[in-house]
Symmetry: C2
Subunit: 444 residues, 2 copies
Amino acid sequence: MMMNLEQLFWAKSVAVVGASTNPSKLGHVILKNIINGGYEGRVYPVNRAGGTLLDLPVYKNLNSIPGDLDLCVMVVPANFAPELIVEGAKKGAKGAVVISGGFREAGNEALEQALVDTARANGVRLIGPNCQGFNFLPNRLCVSWPLITARGAMAIISQSGTVAAALAGWCQDEHIGCSGIVSLGNQADLCETDFIEFFLGDASTQVICLYIEGVKNGRRFIQVCKGAIKPIVVLKSGRTPGGERAAITHTRSLMGKDAVFTGVCRQTGIVRVDTIESLYDLAKSVITIKPPSGNRLMIISSSGGAGIMAVDRAEMLGLEIPELPEELKQELRNGEFPRNMIINNPLDLTGDALAEHYARVAKIIDRYYVADSLLLIFGDPIPGAADALVGLKDKLGGSFCVSYLGGGEIEKEEVNSLLSRGISVYRTPERAVQALARSAPQYR
Amino acid sequence: MMMNLEQLFWAKSVAVVGASTNPSKLGHVILKNIINGGYEGRVYPVNRAGGTLLDLPVYKNLNSIPGDLDLCVMVVPANFAPELIVEGAKKGAKGAVVISGGFREAGNEALEQALVDTARANGVRLIGPNCQGFNFLPNRLCVSWPLITARGAMAIISQSGTVAAALAGWCQDEHIGCSGIVSLGNQADLCETDFIEFFLGDASTQVICLYIEGVKNGRRFIQVCKGAIKPIVVLKSGRTPGGERAAITHTRSLMGKDAVFTGVCRQTGIVRVDTIESLYDLAKSVITIKPPSGNRLMIISSSGGAGIMAVDRAEMLGLEIPELPEELKQELRNGEFPRNMIINNPLDLTGDALAEHYARVAKIIDRYYVADSLLLIFGDPIPGAADALVGLKDKLGGSFCVSYLGGGEIEKEEVNSLLSRGISVYRTPERAVQALARSAPQYR
């Protein structure tokens, strides 16, 4: 009864049962997002009231939809869901997304079981119930909210709709984009491992970002993750006794003790992080920083202080800060650089730094093979950073990133411009170093 | 020869020597910031070229300024600075800010010594040289950049102009505001401890935020900090061997081994943090969260997942997550709240949460004395948060803060609105918990 999830994510037609004229209702928001997301398949709003909605004819029931149906989205009271599965299956639907809550999480185990049984009996695979839906950018199919349209390489799978929405929002704001976003909900049928498997096979996904409170089937999870050909970054909450209790209340699924999960991470090679910001930073670094071939980090800064902060963090995380050889120093001394530049690692361009100085220093350093990765710290409102750095993409094997801070409005513009050109930017030197350190060989 | 720094910060007249017509030069930017910052004292641009600049008459030298002078700002080649100190002193200046670099940090120890000797001989106290100046908001005197005009209670003292500018920028963006910002530079005369002393006595300052790489006079630093009546939060870099070496290169002042400084923090009660974001978060929490009277944290969330993340972090940091007594649970059950609300700690209002639910739950909880602090997590785009929460300021002794995430554009609006009303907001539940934990009794 394994179904290829392709059919679900690449659905060519979608019905939204419970489509609503009230703009504050989910049955409205999701329909609108499917339309505004640019979905090119057929969209059928379903509501007993009929009429039209967002310029589409509303069907009174699934049965009255003309032609076949791939996917059935439900935003209806929980107890209607099982019979809708049957109706959808009759129209050919092989997938359903049950947004509605009111199942196991509300104590209604029997209703959830009935939903699963009905789905199984009718050959329908389920996302949810009690979930925020999914958004699959390659098919421009946003059966979810918020509407995220920026396409990228990060797949987000989350047991929390909020965490998914937060990560996706940051991806959108930072021009990183997503390949897909799945809100797991109760995982009555399809679970985190099914989606991991799907995104491992999805051509546009480069990294999988996972927020979970437990794992549904430990053995299968290990099996799939162990063979993963793409990095998987995971934030698992419920680590402390109180957190574990709260996790049980929240999703009523748990793999067991947190320590067990730590073992699973070691065994499978998936990377565990501690905070939602680290989860995002690390997944972003997979997409935007080429993995360095060694642990030696070169730092170029316009701010002495920020440079030192970076060294501290780098050494704490096991990176090396190589000394510069004399010939390299001499070449830098001979170049046209700020008068008071401190030629060292970190190299301090001082407050007289121009964007092109960074690029020129980086190119010289690249020729000496003294470092495996590069951190560029803009510690002043230096314009033109994005233009100057585009040419660096092949230097040091592309293993570089930027921290831009202390630059007021110019900072905001430049960061936006750098990110929109695919350059990896972090808010602070510490976070930038962390991103580089986690992609260095010591962590692989 | 101790001078009351009041005269410097509250200067009634300022000369900018090296005022420039070129908008990209510091001699222009600083003059413009003094004017645009709303400074109400007299401002004298000085430049040999004369003429007018930004609608002000330009004086050819300090001597030709009419009347007395309190403060002399220098943006000139380093070797001119000593004689300008003498000229300024003749006009009555008791303070000077030497923005210019080219002193000790560039290997010119003798010139720096001459500068200090001249200043001492003429009764002038110095900020810098090689610094980004200062901004004292109560006197609306921004002898620095960027121009920060939002007045608040955070004083920033920094050995790095970039770190100062970054912190100040975040204060401005988040409506936290600053009381003062000082870029220490080489500290040829006035050092970090002098400014700590000043801000401890400044009525508008509630917390002092310090970035340093070393301390100039350890004994005095300990003495002043030990008697501090306001919280001092410090980020000291140069922690690892490489960081220490870089710090020596950067400012050539060091107290000694990092471990010694850890001892100093313990002895004086100043709070040491690890990252620039923690430095900001913690100083912000001093201003925006009233210290809780105990370690018990109540969490109200619309997101189960975010609630669990908060519990994890709280327990890791030593906070307690109390169980709710049965009467309280009953009262909550009887109230008009979302149907599937999970009455527990964390209390999960679910995706049906409205802003007023948070306020009503908080008010009920306040009556039962079950918690000492409160974290409100908005895990959905919930409008009206700021309006609903204003009335909570006296609940749980004001010991509460907000994390708002996963809310797209509504999140951005609400966070801005919450912050502008003085409510403490953090980007993630983890950072919010950290802010509450650090203000709890266990850390005092």
